[in-house]
Symmetry: D2
Subunit: 303 residues, 4 copies
């Protein structure tokens, strides 16, 4: 069967599921997105792209931005970030602060909030503009110069972000931030507020399916770096459900509370899905079902 037909079928199949879960509502702007939206896109590493549903509608990528800030930091500064953040799964959710205290301020991995703050802090030091660098990478790799921050979402996050403030101050108390807490958080909230479509996101993620080669054909990351980011996505990319995601989907992936997920089939393609209603672990319910169906039909699991 043609890939377009596979994607069409999957988008059709998940429709009954779009009512399940709940749209993130801790900030007003996110809560207004209709739960019935769903989009999916596959961007093959050698060019072809196909999509279905609302695959060209922009959404808030939120935590998916953490993949790109990590990639940027590694592109500048191969391995030194790993002195300031581990790369192990985080275990049970309630122990995030316990873990930081037990490990003297070294976050468990770059995809939990504490770790992502450290990565953003490092990127800020390296570039002077962490959020702008992430936006620049996404524009360049997707070819869409219109990709931008959603100032309302960023402001709303800042206003309701006491937990992130707590985390950033705790990191600072351990000396694990190089820049002022306010500046790190401002960049973090901005990078999370980036809006783009499944189509743009799949295109922008393609370098992870091409061993680090950028859209322009030049190496953005080394093959080794690309492989390693995929490994971190697999073990840590979907909050406290990384084991479940590996078990069901069998691909490296990173989700966001905006309902998006990006998954990588190394050497083959990048897949993006978007369905705003989230399950208990903060991952898109329909999105995971769609990716599960995708690897089942194509046989493209890495396992």
């Amino acid at each position: 069967m043609e890939l377009q037909a596979v994607v069409d079928e999957i988008v059709h199949e998940v429709q009954p599921m779009l009512g399940e879960g709940a749209v993130a509502s801790y900030i007003p702007s996110l809560g207004q997105v209709p739960a019935g939206n769903f989009g999916m896109c596959v961007a093959m590493s050698d060019g072809p792209v196909c999509g279905a549903g609302q695959w060209q509608d922009p959404f808030s990528i939120q935590s998916i931005s953490k993949v790109f800030s990590l990639a940027l930091v590694m592109s500048y500064d191969y391995d030194s970030i790993w002195k300031r953040v581990f790369r192990e799964p985080s275990g049970t959710p309630f122990n995030s602060m316990l873990q930081l205290e037990a490990d003297n301020g070294i976050p468990r991995n770059p995809f939990i909030n504490a770790g992502a703050l450290v990565v953003t802090d490092r990127l800020l030091t390296l570039t002077g503009d962490a959020a702008g660098s992430v936006r620049g990478l996404l524009r360049k790799e997707s070819g869409n110069p219109a990709i931008d921050f959603d100032d309302e979402v960023a402001a709303s996050e800042a206003q309701h972000g006491h937990r992130n403030y707590a985390m950033a101050h705790l990191l600072a108390s351990y000396g694990n931030l190089e820049n002022p807490v306010e500046l790190v958080l401002e960049n973090y909230f901005k990078q999370c507020s980036l809006r783009m479509s499944c189509e743009d996101l799949a295109a922008a993620s393609r370098f992870l399916a091409r061993h680090g080669v950028s859209a322009g054909g030049t190496p953005f990351l080394s093959p080794n770096q690309s492989k390693r980011i995929n490994a971190v996505m697999l073990t840590c990319g979907t909050y406290d459900a990384a084991g479940e995601f590996a078990y069901r989907v069998g691909l490296p992936g990173k989700s966001g509370v905006g309902g998006g997920i990006v998954a990588i089939v190394p050497g083959r393609c990048a897949v993006t899905v978007w369905g705003p209603a989230l399950g208990p672990n903060g991952n898109s319910v329909a999105g995971i079902a769609a990716l599960d169906a995708f690897t089942t039909r194509t046989g493209w699991s890495i396992f």
Copy 2:
């Protein structure tokens, strides 16, 4: 380069590393194994086998046995084990009991001790002889009828096993054991005491590289089950260093305190290494280095 040459080279390269780490000594029998031993074996899914070093010397497989007890339980009873054990990485080491308490007696995954006890308990119910079933599977898949328990090691584990007794009683207090604590532990200590060589272990693990097809050519597991065990190995197979293992090696793997590690390249081969000296996370130092070198040279990482 030929695979045999790759394996020879790697075994040569890791020699200087054999002094690093420490041989497990919490029970006397394990502590007597010389740290200088090292073996490696690759068993291709379509038959050919090559090895180097002490690849034909038997060692105590310890926690590697957990892969086979899980496979057996899934072969009988597809998915019901997941009601009694999660499949998420365990996070920080010190919270194993905390986690059991927080999750009402459901262990985090089948490869931490608490979870493995639940799997052994289930296998005991299904077969009447959990340890014997694991031995039977290993004999059949490897073709070596001499594989057997090491009674001295099993007895020694029982004698020094207060922590496993504590864990089993805690599981029982939550109603998550079907059989008496003593019987479950006896089977658990026996299955962990199984002795076999890299060669036999690679042969016996080959079904996970063959989408579940057994040595005899018949399906032991479905392709889906095989894929899922690989996923659980990747996210949970190397104690608290699963993220590190995925990052460096990039393969599903399971280690044991006897110094063995089995890794799977899905669709292609099973690889086993054995080096008794362990790093701080309980994984063979030289073994991980050898597997890292293996995926780097062959390019057979799943990422």
Copy 3:
């Protein structure tokens, strides 16, 4: 007002409260005690005793026995027990095993189960018969030679005691038991099964209100030791509600899941109450209310 009248009034007042809470039912024998029972007794340090309600009916003293095993250990061996157990409040309930792990097997205080097991273990070493020693002390101080173990309760505890087995094995894994796990637990379950009335318990506790002087007039403990046991009771005697008990009652006290509580007014009297229905923290609901009323009316709070 006369003390007898105060006690009569309090017993009258708590009657409507006897339905609140729930009788401990984790072992069948305890669950059969009618929730409507209530007794109270005050034993003045200089002799007089008064009581009301079912103050002469025996009940299972359970954890109250921990005060007497601690007193015995201190009587033999002044201060050395504190190398093996701390004397700090335990904090949140869910972290008992976490705490043991974090503190390398040293329990938080002698009144949580882990700490009481260590005390019983020590008493076993010192006397050869820990449970018998506790029974002997209670008989001697109360003057009632009929006080005895309830074998059915002890057997039932052993049968349902997986959590205590887990705790004891965990202590043993840290080398913090001198005797075999089974023997320690047997003594522990026996001492907890002791049955006696409010009257006998008040008489037997009087030495803590008399600066350590026994019923026979000779020093059982030094004044300093007696003071210190009272201090540990105040900070650690009522499970995770020690702060609440100090706040409401304002006396050193120790409760048991049989519904009994003993409280000490240093220099003045021992007070016992018994009401089998327990609140969420495992303390007798009516018992705490009665002790609250007692200090309010008499003004005998230590604060």
Copy 4:
């Protein structure tokens, strides 16, 4: 022996101990206080005062201020603060954030930092000036209008206060602050920076030894409220060493990292000590030794 002689002797006796422990140095201003200072004062509830050593030198009262903010809140608003903060000992130190997360933002007691922030927040709502109210109470009860904030210490705390910022934001994330985080922290740092001598502090604490009656002879707190604050001090007043303090000293007490401790003998006197060098739990080493000697000599322990 006369009380003055007792105090003189104790101050003499602790001199060799003044080198033990370490002066708090997390902010520069605190670290400059000489470790050799020591003062002690006893203020009898019926008037007489005696002191020795540097008992008239001012020091930074730090966490001792938490007693007075709690007393003020209770004076306005009897019991409602207990909906927002528990009154249980905190258990092991490393779980402060874990506890807040497990209990949905309700701190364990009013004397750990998280709980004190909630009390200050409430006082801010009730009075519009929390720090000013605490200063006003201390001036009035001590009769010394010169008692004041140390602006340098307060500013230094704010600058190095990432951990308190983290805690305050975490409380805010659970909706347990009524006022802006910045304002609460400003008041908190100011109240902690108050400087006064042992003499003034003993006089100002006397109402807790007089069943709530203020220096002016009118009730500031009810007898019941006074009793309850003493109970909370006993179970929670000395960080993670409350059990130890009760065991050794046997009095309700509250310590601060400036090296001061206030202890109450209900119905009799308030005792203050000051020695800047702290033990591992953050309490003055010589101060605790002095209080231990005090209750041993006078027999005024509450147990």
